[in-house]
Symmetry: D2
Subunit: 139 residues, 4 copies
């Protein structure tokens, strides 16, 4: 079983840095989101398709560990990995590292569930997602 990953390079914006001259900790959730999106694009997991089919995938849990800061002008890389699981959940792991030194700076995780358009929890993986996992050798 493969371990699907995506890598996204980014440059720290001036507006993302706080008065301690490091990236404000909440902005890492934007980077995670960028990572998830890059993952979807690279591995043909089309979220908009899911939305069109009537599914939402809200985040129900996230955690972040901050080891070293990013500063204005730094280039980071977001490594986004999908954790395969049987339950109707999408679990991503993230590792942000310095593009030059490859030092790990921040790690984290998000858990998403499936709901219908009204926000009602769906307990089984939608066919679309199940098929995608099969196609990718993940189930």
């Amino acid at each position: 079983m493969k371990d699907l990953k995506a890598f996204t390079e980014f440059k720290v914006r001036f507006s993302e840095v706080d008065s301690m001259r490091v990236v404000w900790h909440g902005n890492y959730l934007k980077y995670f989101e960028d990572g998830r999106e890059a993952f979807g694009l690279q591995h043909d997991l089309d979220y908009l398709k899911l939305y069109d089919l009537g599914f939402l995938t809200p985040i129900v849990h996230t955690e972040l560990d901050f080891k070293w800061p990013l500063r204005y002008g730094d280039t980071g890389v977001i490594e986004t990995r999908l954790e395969s699981c049987l339950a109707a959940k999408i679990i991503h792991h993230y590792r942000i590292y310095n593009a030059h030194t490859e030092k790990t700076l921040v790690t984290g995780k998000t858990i998403q569930v499936f709901t219908d358009i009204k926000g009602q929890l769906i307990l089984n993986n939608p066919d679309f997602y199940q098929n995608w996992k099969k196609l990718k050798g993940l189930s």
Copy 2:
């Protein structure tokens, strides 16, 4: 003809300050938005009602003049004023000042137009808005 105004006090958040230790200039558009909302609440201009009636009010122009900065922990006041005009536009003027010294820090302006739900421009003031203006002695 009255000059309708609203006043909103706010405290600068840590996450709104940049590495120069002053509020990042783009965040003043959030304060303006807070001011507009307070104006609507105070003067019974119900934007959600407008949306329900099928109107959107996108911003088509904004300008800001930055005289003095706000810092983390500072308390500011947003003075929001409606400029009465005949055209189908909503024009607000803003003055942000220090709550303690009353020194003017930032001034600005936004212009909104009316569109239908598809974004098509509407050239006449919606009845709802026209009535509201009459009620407030603005037309």
Copy 3:
């Protein structure tokens, strides 16, 4: 031993809501920050004093559980609680609930450590913080 808490009411801003019409999940870290600040003000824990004494308190870990969303115009309350601990750490727990229904919407936690001005980890509680804890009956 008392359990120190602070309560902060807030209104959801238009700019905090995403295209699903709920607060974008990353914005809850801003609310947590507002909660921490309110906690400090209410209980005389003066972060700026700490900075002046040469200490920084970077966040090294955070986690959030999202149960129910907040929407534009909703009023929420942030309950911020300090978890007393012997180690040189500041641990806060957060509960965000709807101001009207009192339904719990989001819970979470942040862990901060002490570093010197250069970011070097400090393994013992600074005297200033130790004294504050004693004063508050927390140690």
Copy 4:
């Protein structure tokens, strides 16, 4: 006299879109900032060098005209142009257009001044900036 420009491509992030499913208007100031930074990198105008020499370049004025919206997933291009001027000011003009259709979506302008590290206005162009302009054939 050359007309210095820089072009920066970007993809709209999910977190930049508001509940109307278009980019929240304040986020265009982030795009402008990205454009300015790209301009500096491309044309060797090193802001950090300026800071090291003791100069800050705060924004004192900005204006934006919103013609058409950007949506989640859209790719835009920021065209950043320097307006040459004799006064001790940095004036940039921006045009954001759709990368595919090349339709102009948003235009705008920022004016920056020079101050010393304490925020005191400087009335003459710093030597560093004057030399840079000469080098680029701008004065």
